[in-house]
């Protein structure tokens, strides 16, 4: 059902797309799809889109379901990056997160992808209940031992309405973990190019950078989000709703278009996630001088060790990244 619906959505979308420069197959672990399903998926995508010569194609892989067959298939297709959803190298914490894989499977999956010569990224999560700084140091050390050229770190956030929220566990502050990650990963040669992302130079995820650059993208599948010419949309979240909607038209359930200074402020927040920050000249061209100046004045309130305000650009310092949410909420 899913692939049929996806095919319908892609054919409805295909006409308004030019050559794809990045593709990210993720969000709910695509590696659970069987090899046969993958072959069909590749076929659908290839029929719907054309790719530019240096296109970045990333796939998210779940250590619990990744097989050699997947890797071979991806290798044969146009996949360049694999992002492995490790989360932790500690079985106890993996269990807390409700993951089906264990630490050994995570290591095996990583080894498989690195050996296949993909550009490999791994996701790690910190701030879990009972996690000490020492636990986190061990996770990072293990992560670095695989020699991946990209690591993303996230803090656990409890969403309302989830089983986690009902348990209401006590979480560590997380500041020290994040601070340590910045230090340890940078020392290992992985630059922090975005608030949650560390990469060896040249291996940044272009797909994600496009989000922060307020660029265009199409989201396909249930609950996918997209952005075209200033309008953002979101697809139906439940698979059956999504599938039913694709029979008639595009499966969009909400749309939003920000204008003027609100659009500028959202763009500024996105840009400040990255090392590049806000380049004022292009920002002013896109959003107008008044909005740019208003945001610039807001940013000037912050101390220099948090926001580096230069003549050409404003960007968060490493300390600023640690306090990102506070700063963004000031300028949104």
């Amino acid at each position: 059902m899913y692939l049929d619906a996806l095919e319908r959505e892609i054919s409805a979308r295909a006409e308004d797309s030019s050559a794809v420069s990045t593709l990210y197959v993720g969000g709910g672990t695509p590696s659970v799809l069987s090899l046969a399903s993958w072959e069909r998926l590749i076929e659908i995508i290839e029929r719907g889109f054309s790719f530019s010569g240096d296109a970045e194609v990333s796939v998210e892989a779940n250590p619990g379901s990744l097989s050699r067959g997947h890797v071979a298939l991806w290798r044969a297709w146009r996949v360049t990056r694999v992002s492995v959803g490790v989360q932790s190298f500690d079985d106890r914490r993996l269990k807390f997160l409700g993951r089906v894989h264990n630490a050994a499977q995570a290591s095996a999956a990583l080894a498989l992808c690195v050996d296949a010569m993909f550009s490999v990224s791994l996701d790690l999560m910190f701030g879990l209940p009972g996690e000490t700084l020492r636990d986190w140091m061990t996770d990072l050390k293990t992560a670095l031992s695989f020699g991946t050229n990209h690591i993303s770190v996230y803090q656990l956030t409890i969403e309302e309405g989830t089983p986690f929220a009902r348990e209401n566990p006590e979480l560590p502050e997380g500041y020290a973990q994040y601070r340590y990650a910045q230090w340890r990963l940078t020392r290992a040669g992985l630059d922090q190019y975005e608030v949650a992302s560390f990469a060896r130079p040249g291996y940044e995820c272009r797909h994600n950078l496009n989000y922060w650059d307020d660029g265009k993208y199409i989201g396909l599948g249930p609950s996918a989000c997209g952005c075209m010419d200033g309008t953002r949309w979101m697809n139906a979240q439940r698979l059956d709703d999504y599938a039913a909607m694709t029979l008639r038209s595009l499966p969009i359930v909400s749309e939003e278009r920000l204008e003027g200074e609100r659009a500028a402020r959202q763009a500024a927040v996105l840009a400040l996630r990255t090392k590049k920050g806000i380049a004022w000249e292009t920002f002013a061209e896109r959003h107008g001088e008044p909005a740019a100046n208003a945001i610039r004045r807001n940013l000037e309130h912050f101390p220099g060790d948090i926001v580096a305000n230069g003549a050409d650009a404003s960007r968060l310092t490493p300390k600023g990244f640690r306090l990102g949410n506070v700063i963004w909420s000031e300028i949104i």
Binding site: Y24, G26, G27, V153, Y154, Q155, T157, E173, G174, Y175, Y178, V195, A196, Y211, Y217, G219, A224, C225, G226, C227, R232, M234, E256, Q266, V269, L270, R273, H301, F302, P303, I306, R322, L323, G324, N325, V326, I327, W328, S329, E330, I332
Partner: protein, 605 residues
């Protein structure tokens, strides 16, 4: 038409709070059949809902009673009720000026209290005939002999012929009525002389405009007479004259010695000032009657609407309140924490609370009140004086300030001798100067202290209550300004002075109070992106410093597969929470911090 002065008695009732004044008034009204029994509600004269609830009388309401005395003649007895609280001394003097006599009520069980003394002396000074009454003689603990001894020793009046009364069961009420006729003189007054009447109160009525309560001294007044107010010179035509039954009832005319009201199309209370003399416009009196001293507010505080856009509503409510409580003053001010509001002046703490409560009940205005303060006189080095109503009125450079004077009061306390120790200790703590102590009876002590008013209004009442388990009564009078070693303590947050947090206190207390406020602020101001020092300073000298550590907590949330909108909404929510904070320099201070500093208790209602 008007009653013969020989047959008029004008009197008031003087009593300490709780000594049963209002109940006695009710009994008198009942005994003279002024109000039908079925219309009686307990404590009829306390017309404000609030007064009945608190069991205190603030606003006097006159009542006219007809009484057939033992001599067979019909008399008109005008009772002008008086407020019992020290804040409202001025109302007492107003009432007394319209009377020839007073009933002095003393609780036979409790004896003479501080308030009784002050009001009895006010009556004596105005030459009133006094009828002593011992109330609550039905109580087992009643001791009329002791009460008589106290009256004679403390006040110096002959209490041998005091009426023994129980307003509760009606004992002695008839005797009181008779004694009003026999012991209180009838008013003097010349019917033929030019009309002259004293305004002893004014109320505002939505339909009739200002209603002036008057006591006629000479001449007569009736509808369509042309009158003028001697202070303002404003002329009006009388629309209605009447008496208090206690409901207002129109009569044909009012003559000398009578108490009643007039309606004359007066639009504003300021045109009908209490204490002014009304006379005939055609045939005016040669000189105004002795008026009242103008009462000046002594306690000030800020009133701010809870909803900021209700400022105009609050202004209107204050204007209307001022119409029937002319002792209230107000002027606009603004506060960093509370926005726009009014600095209001009151006669005392109770007056302040009552005003707040009335604004809420009668006008539906919900407000926050800042803690009360007094007016300081600042003597500058160039010899001039500046009046300081708030810390920011003090010179920013303390070297320009030669001396600070603050208002003092003389407090008289009546208390059982077992509590003398804690009481003296309290007064000392409050920077009091001992001014006298004597035993009224072997168990009862009169203690006199001179206290800074600022200390008194802070929490003296509460502390006295707990120090004496409520057994002390007090009275006070203002005794003028005196120099004190006062300093303005400035608050610096992130090295920037924040006016809203500065305060005035005695030099010896500056450190202690500076520190406790700093600690409180430290708890209330959230951690910022950087370390924030909170300091207290006198001039340039820093006396206290505490630090708020830099923020170390942040949520580094994942941005789900390009779901930018969701992230933005989360940030906007976060920002919304921050909006309620006041940005001072780079520091965001939540409203609660200001509120806590003001120590506004919102659970009063």
């Amino acid at each position: 038409m008007a009653t013969d002065t020989e047959k008029i008695r004008n009197f008031s009732i003087i009593a300490h709070v709780d000594h049963g004044k209002s109940t006695l008034a009710d009994r008198l009204i009942e005994a003279t059949h002024t109000v039908e029994g079925r219309n009686m509600k307990s404590q009829l004269l306390d017309t404000l809902e609030l007064e009945r609830e608190r069991g205190i009388t603030i606003k006097l309401v006159p009542v006219r009673m007809n009484y057939r005395a033992k001599d067979g003649a019909e008399y008109v007895l005008n009772l002008i009720d008086t407020p019992g609280h020290v804040d409202f001394n001025y109302e007492v003097s107003r009432s007394l000026a319209a009377c020839e006599g007073a009933i002095l009520v003393v609780d036979a069980a409790q004896g003479v209290e501080a308030q009784t003394v002050a009001n009895a002396y006010l009556a004596v000074e105005q030459g009133l005939d006094l009828v002593p009454v011992f109330n609550k003689i039905d109580l087992p603990s009643a001791s009329p002999e002791r009460a008589a001894k106290e009256i004679e020793e403390i006040i110096g009046l002959d209490a041998s012929n005091a009426v023994l009364c129980s307003a509760k069961d009606g004992t002695g009420v008839d005797e009181i009525l008779e004694r009003i006729v026999t012991d209180i003189r009838s008013p003097a007054g010349d019917k033929e002389a030019p009309f002259a009447a004293l305004v002893f109160d004014s109320v505002y009525d939505n339909y009739k405009g200002v209603i002036s309560y008057i006591r006629i001294v000479n001449g007569e007044v009736k509808a369509r007479d042309e009158i003028s107010f001697m202070a303002t010179g404003e002329r009006y035509e009388v629309e209605e004259v009447g008496v208090f039954t206690p409901e207002k009832r129109a009569v044909g005319a009012l003559g000398p010695g009578e108490v009643g009201y007039i309606v004359a199309g007066i639009k504003s209370l300021s045109d009908a000032g209490v204490g002014d003399t009304i006379t005939s416009a055609r045939n005016p009196a040669s000189a105004p009657l002795p008026g009242y001293r103008h009462v000046k507010p002594v306690v000030f505080c800020g009133y701010y609407p809870i909803e900021r856009d209700e400022i105009n509503f609050l202004r209107e409510a204050l204007e209307k309140l001022q119409i029937n409580d002319s002792a209230i003053t107000f002027e606009p001010e603004s506060s960093a924490a509370l926005g726009f509001g009014f600095r209001c002046g009151f006669l005392g703490l109770l007056h302040m609370e009552i005003a707040k409560e009335r604004l809420y009940r009668e006008f539906g205005v919900e407000l926050v009140a800042t803690p009360p303060n007094v007016i300081y006189q600042v003597k500058l080095t160039d010899g001039s004086f500046a009046e300081a109503r708030r810390p920011s009125d003090f010179p920013s450079d303390p070297t320009r300030q030669e001396e600070v004077l603050e208002p003092f009061i003389r407090v008289t306390l009546f208390l059982p001798d077992t509590y003398v120790g804690p009481c003296i200790q309290l007064c000392q703590e409050k920077r009091g100067i001992h001014a006298g102590m004597d035993y009224i009876t072997p168990e009862r002590v009169r203690l006199t202290y001179e206290l800074p008013l600022a200390e008194f209004i802070l929490d003296f009442h509460d502390k006295l209550k707990s120090a004496t388990r409520g057994y002390a009564s007090l009275d006070y009078e203002h005794i003028g300004y005196r120099p004190s070693d006062l300093v303005k303590v400035d608050r610096l947050i992130q090295d920037e002075p924040v006016d809203a947090f500065s305060f005035i206190c005695h030099r010896d207390e500056a450190y202690h109070r500076g520190h406790s406020v700093a600690t409180k602020l430290k708890e209330l101001i959230p951690r910022q992106l950087f370390e924030v020092p909170i300091q207290a300073a006198i001039g340039k000298k820093i006396i206290v410093r505490v630090n708020i550590k830099a923020l170390r907590k942040d949520v580094l949330a994942k941005c789900y597969g390009g779901d930018v909108t969701r992230k933005r909404k989360l940030l906007e929510k976060q920002k919304e929470g921050k909006k309620r904070m006041k940005q001072l320099g780079r520091v965001s201070i939540p409203q609660e911090a200001f509120m806590a500093f003001l120590d506004v208790s919102s659970d009063e209602k």
